[in-house]
Symmetry: none
Subunit: 133 residues, 4 copies
């Protein structure tokens, strides 16, 4: 089970990486049931990214994979057309990554939004890495 | 009219096929009014598939056809652009199949999600076949 | 973590009690994250009870208590006026009960609707008792 | 304008008071536009309080007053019957308090939920006091 300490560690690492890159982002952490555990919006991040960060994390929890991996199932020509409209709307692009415990079980996910997609991904990866598993 | 015994037969057959294939899925059964009759989530199925299984079954009931058949109406170049956004959002890909009585009248639908789309379809077909009509 | 076998045991016990009483009900089982695990609608249960059974179980999970206990917080004169409108709408009356493991941790909840409230409660209690914890 | 540092100060003070009281709570901080700035769910807080903490803070921002003050307008006998159903649903009970800058301008609000209403209020007051204005 994801602890608040773990969630804060994830957020701090994400903010640190975002500061290095120089882009203000939102970092959202959900538990394994997709319920909000911790959230932080850096000064200067656009309002539209609040929902996107939450949605990326939610996408990662719901499918137990990175948010962009979901796109492989619903992109044009793939078999699950319109999958992205399920579950209240997914965010099938980079920046959402599952959090796992040392046994590999998913304990939640982080979602990052505010920069370019590649930046969001880099920040999310740094955030996840801070868990040290 | 779909009975609970029929719905349980459909779910048991779907679960049996999923076990043979080795993929945990969700099997949802709706009645002819698109109201939930029975539902089962196998251990290990991802949370995101709950909504998708329900949505596939709903798509099948609403149009009295397999869920993927709806895609023919709304795919790029087809006349009903954005049809998939009607009715609260359809799931126009395989895994939803109408249930019929011996006279051919639709009495509900089954929706399966959790595996690859081809697996979901195979499981849904096994589930429907268990009705023996 | 709630298993599908446990959920089916809960539902079977609820249905057995409802059959003894002679009232068709809906029995819904959610996991600890309030996600649907299993569901069964007995023949003859009214459609309006689908949502109520789900909502009772959801109320029990969200507050880790029986659904009717929530009414103590929001009834006229109590301090949390309009609490029942939070979380998409609660069902603060009897029929929703948490499910616990042998260590006492909440692993989900059952919600029953279809009969008189006292009947729903009796059926929910029988359903929970079947877990044997 | 509310800074992330201020929001974190508010949350830390709320968590510290909750720890002293011995009740796990959720502390949500919104900006003056009612958009989420920071959020923290202490281990053990019930899931139902996520929405309530957010809703209390939202109620405080929307009416620039404490959440329970809104009850005076909508309680039985008051002139604004059903006011609590506006704005997607208010939480007109204690635990939501506006945040103000040194000039007295509202810069956001804090919402606390998880304990008894009186505890939530005490925690929210400690959280607001940490801003030192």
């Amino acid at each position: 089970m994801l602890s608040l300490n773990q969630a804060k560690t994830v957020i701090a690492a994400g903010e640190a990486k975002a500061t290095v890159i120089g882009v203000p982002v939102i970092v959202a952490v959900l538990d394994a049931g997709a319920h909000l555990k911790a959230f932080s919006r850096m000064d200067g991040a656009v309002l539209g990214s609040i929902d996107i960060a939450l949605r990326k994390a939610r996408t990662a929890v719901l499918f137990e994979t990175s948010s962009e991996a979901v796109w492989d199932y619903c992109k044009p020509g793939a078999p699950a057309h319109a999958l992205e409209f399920s579950n209240g709307g997914l965010a099938p692009f980079a920046g959402g990554i599952p959090l796992r415990d040392t046994a590999g079980a998913m304990i939640g996910a982080v979602g990052v939004s505010g920069g370019a997609v590649a930046q969001d991904l880099e920040i999310a990866e740094a955030a996840v890495a801070a868990l040290g598993v």
